[in-house]
């Protein structure tokens, strides 16, 4: 048996600039942190020759008998793609469970991919670095499965922690934010995550955004450039310990984000956001691409409970969380060893783009 996990993330600034259509031309940057809500992958050997995948989130079960063609559609396309990548096709049972429901804007789909890569690679005896795990996750999701998504979620889940992630045509860098513990603690205690109850499909919104960016739709490109500038500003505020100004900047970023594509926000989200602002939230945004899921809010000192109560009356539900800095990791391994295609590396990593300037994040200290 082997248990691996990867955290979900909360993106503060720069979301949207991690799309290849934008950053390959202009360069992008994202400021995000992982939180202590994880996607767990439980791998076990199967006595029979079959391959079995169970997901509690999607309430789905899939069984594949060797010799039959792999199905590529449905909710379990991700684990199937990862298994195929490593050449693991039988005698394994996979169980997936997540602390954050899928489609809520916390990047749980990418966390699933990262956790699967981490777990299966460990079971195959391969010691992949965090950068390799993230890059392979991007490859599987974006290139193999054709999802029109960005690359920040995979890197956040693989590396963990509060990071400044930059994207450019020459490569991707992950830089841990080295800020004092008390600043980090204050930021953490003033943030609120409220579940709007509506899940979304980020792919549709991001596809529209990508399309608009590719044809240089000026309003979207300008909004993304403004978001990038805001991300730089937010990083400066955090480094200085000006947490309230950081929070207020979230509001500015949210106004820009709403211009990306139709569907990022709606009447209900706007109403809830207004209620939060009236009760002491300095800023906030919808986590992820938009359209629903979690509403992230930064509250002024002492206003958090008031905002929570006001939004609870509006039908939202609070999710308690803490920052985490582990990233993806194997929690338990009772000697599981999977037979894999020995040539997997040759035909997967060579397809992934070479990374320059990657460095493993140092563990944050208080």
């Amino acid at each position: 048996m082997l248990i691996a996990r990867a955290p979900v993330r909360v993106s503060f600034f720069g979301g949207g600039t991690d799309l290849a259509a934008y950053y390959e031309r202009y360069g992008g940057a994202v400021l995000s942190t992982t939180i202590d809500k994880y996607v767990y992958v439980h791998l076990n050997t199967n006595a029979r020759d079959a391959l079995q995948i169970t997901s509690s989130d999607y309430r789905t079960f899939y069984r594949h008998t060797p010799g039959e063609p792999l199905l590529w559609d449905g909710d379990l396309s991700l684990p199937r793609a990862v298994l195929q990548q490593f050449g693991v096709e039988h005698s394994v049972s996979i169980f997936l469970a997540s602390e954050a429901p899928p489609g809520t804007g916390l990047g749980s789909s990418s966390a699933v991919t990262v956790a699967l890569i981490k777990g299966i690679s460990a079971a195959c005896g391969l010691n992949l670095s965090k950068a390799q795990v993230a890059e392979l996750a991007c490859y599987i999701e974006i290139e193999k499965l054709g999802k029109p998504i960005g690359m920040q979620d995979q890197y956040a889940a693989a590396f963990g922690g509060l990071n400044w992630i930059t994207f450019s045509a020459s490569g991707i860098t992950v830089q841990p934010m080295d800020i004092p513990w008390h600043v980090l603690s204050r930021l953490e205690s003033n943030l609120l995550l409220m579940f709007t109850g509506a899940t979304h499909d980020s792919a549709h919104i991001l596809a529209q955004q990508t399309k608009a960016t590719k044809i240089s739709k000026s309003i979207v490109v300008e909004a993304l450039q403004a978001v990038y500038e805001l991300a730089l500003q937010a990083r400066t505020y955090l480094q200085r310990g000006e947490v309230d100004r950081f929070g207020a900047l979230l509001d500015v970023a949210w106004q820009h984000k709403k211009k990306f594509a139709p569907g990022v926000s709606n009447e209900y989200i706007d109403h809830c956001y207004a209620v939060a602002r009236n009760n002491g939230a300095l800023g906030g945004k919808i986590a992820g691409a938009g359209g629903g899921g979690f509403l992230l809010l930064y509250c002024e000192e002492g206003a958090l409970d008031r905002v929570d109560q006001a939004l609870t009356r509006e039908g939202l539900r609070r999710m308690d969380f803490r920052f985490e800095s582990d990233g993806s990791r194997v929690l338990f391994n009772a000697g599981l060893r999977l037979k894999h295609n020995p040539k997997w590396q040759a035909h997967s990593l060579q397809k992934t783009r070479s990374l320059n300037g990657h460095r493993e994040p140092a563990t944050r200290l208080a």
């Binding site: 202590d36 460990a122 080295d178 004092p180 513990w181 603690s185 803490r322 920052f323 985490e324 800095s325 582990d326 990791r329 194997v330 929690l331 338990f332 391994n333 140092a362 563990t363 944050r364 200290l365 208080a366």
Partner: protein, 496 residues
């Protein structure tokens, strides 16, 4: 990269600690040499220069030469046997065992030298050999015992104390930290925890926090001047564990130690054995093993046997009186008690229950006096002789059902229950946790732990015998769990 500021009083440079250790080792070398010199000089005075005529050849100059040679020989043997290694010093009985081995080895080498060097001017006799061996063991052993006491005093002032990081903040890690923090002589100062799962900065115990992740061990060990790192194998992620055990700890300046992740081992301990170069840990069934078990056995059967013999006539008088006062009632009551390793046995005690006639309101003075003084427990010396109980131990319990914690249950079964124990000490009654003192007694047991408890019990017995009635000061509820179910009438005035 920042660190949580420790109170300045806790900041001790590890270089200072290293200097202190170096000074201690040098002091031990000098004192060992002096003890060897003293023991051989004393053996000479007693056997050669003493009252008993020494018929073998002896030359004073040759003997002096031999003594001068003996000192480096003995010290070399001590060094080979690890008597100057930090891990073997200041705790447990390993040091004393090695002293015995070292002295015997040193003496044997001395004899070999005498034989091979063909020393015609000194012919060692059997008496001299035995005396030299016994005296050197006694003197070196006593000296090291006294040095320990001095070091324990110094440790209260944070001298010779290692700064420790515990990797893993689960129950096991916390229990280890508590064990060291509760004993000022442990020489282990826990500066923080590293944990995979708890948030950095969260308080784990008293004022000790999680200061980072296991992956930052090297960096944090330098920041906090750490001497020792304890890895709690059950508390870290598989990946972290793999990274930790492959680190070059020596290069980073700390000693890496693994704590097998079984809470019970804290109580019973383990024995390390090697089977064809495979190191194995054998979990002891009992907390008290080896020389400690022998000392406990000596106390129970030596002193217990003596007490049983001395008190036999007195006990018979009590039994006869009880029988005459109440011919239909049994003299002794038997209570089923959970013994060591969970084995049940019948614990004896004089039947001090009021008779049917007395239940109407009048209570027997003798019975009350027996309970008040604790003499109703005299028959339990028979349980001691049968190996079911100890003179000193945790409270006898009829069942451990009320102990819901499996770890605590295992702890309580690691030693024999006692006639007297830590629960009857004055400071125990101030304890907020009724089990705390007993668990602490089990984990930290030494022969020196039992003696004050016994002394206090004897003083209490005589005080109550000759001063008269005095109500016990401990909470009555604590007694109820081991009383027989039909003995409710006694629950108000049980005495320990």
């Amino acid at each position: 990269m920042r660190k949580i500021e420790l109170p300045t009083t806790q900041k001790i440079e590890s270089s200072a600690i290293r200097r202190q250790w170096r000074a201690l080792i040098i002091a031990l070398l000098v004192l060992d040499a002096m003890c060897v010199l003293g023991s051989l000089a004393l053996a000479y005075l007693i056997r050669i220069d003493g009252l008993i005529p020494y018929y073998a050849t002896v030359n004073d100059a040759a003997y002096r030469k031999l003594v001068i040679l003996a000192m480096p020989l003995f010290l070399a043997c001590f060094a080979i046997l690890g008597l100057y290694q930090r891990d073997n010093l200041l705790g447990g009985v390993v040091e004393y065992k090695q002293v015995v081995k070292g002295c015997i080895a040193g003496l044997m080498l001395l004899v070999v030298y005498v034989v091979f060097a063909r020393m015609d001017d000194f012919d060692p006799s059997r008496g001299w050999l035995i005396l030299s061996g016994a005296l050197s063991i006694a003197m070196v052993g006593t000296m090291r015992f006294l040095v320990r006491r001095v070091v324990y005093r110094l440790r209260e002032m944070r001298w010779l104390t290692s700064r420790v990081l515990i990797v893993g903040a689960n129950d096991q890690g916390v229990a280890i930290a508590k064990q060291w923090m509760s004993n000022p002589h442990s020489g282990m100062q826990v500066v923080g925890f590293l944990d995979d799962f708890k948030a950095v900065g969260s308080v784990v115990l008293d004022n000790i926090r999680v200061i980072g992740r296991p992956s930052a061990l090297d960096e944090l060990s330098r920041l906090y001047h750490v001497d020792e790192v304890i890895v709690v194998s059950t508390a870290v992620a598989w990946e972290s564990f793999g990274e930790l055990v492959t680190r070059d700890a020596k290069a980073q300046g700390y000693t890496l130690r693994l704590s097998p992740g079984f809470y019970e081992m804290l109580t019973t301990g383990v024995a390390v054995t090697t089977k064809t170069f495979v190191p194995l840990l054998t979990i002891n069934e009992s907390r008290i093993v080896g020389i400690d078990a022998f000392l406990k056995w000596l106390l129970d059967y030596g002193l217990g046997g003596l007490l049983a013999l001395v008190s036999l006539p007195f006990g018979l008088v009590i039994a006869l009186t009880l029988k005459l006062r109440n011919p239909h009632a049994p003299v002794l009551t038997r209570t089923r008690i959970v013994g060591r390793s969970g084995r049940p046995f019948s614990m004896l005690r004089f039947n001090t229950r009021p008779s049917l006639a007395q239940q109407s309101g009048r209570r027997g003075k003798l019975e009350r006096w027996l309970r008040m003084t604790g003499l109703d427990k005299l028959p339990q010396l028979w349980n001691v002789m049968r190996g079911q109980m100890s003179l000193v131990g945790p409270r006898p319990r009829a069942s451990l059902d009320r102990v819901t914690d499996m770890h605590t249950m295992h702890n309580l079964q690691a030693v024999k229950p006692g006639i007297v124990g830590p629960w009857m000490r004055k400071d125990h009654h101030a304890s907020s946790d009724p089990l705390h003192d007993e668990l602490s007694y089990i984990r930290n047991w030494q022969i020196w732990t039992d003696l004050p408890i016994l002394f206090e019990a004897v003083v209490k017995l005589f005080t109550r015998m000759f001063r008269g009635n005095k109500r016990p000061s401990h909470p009555v509820e604590q007694e109820q769990e081991w009383l027989p179910s039909d003995d409710k009438s006694l629950r108000k005035d049980i005495l320990y």
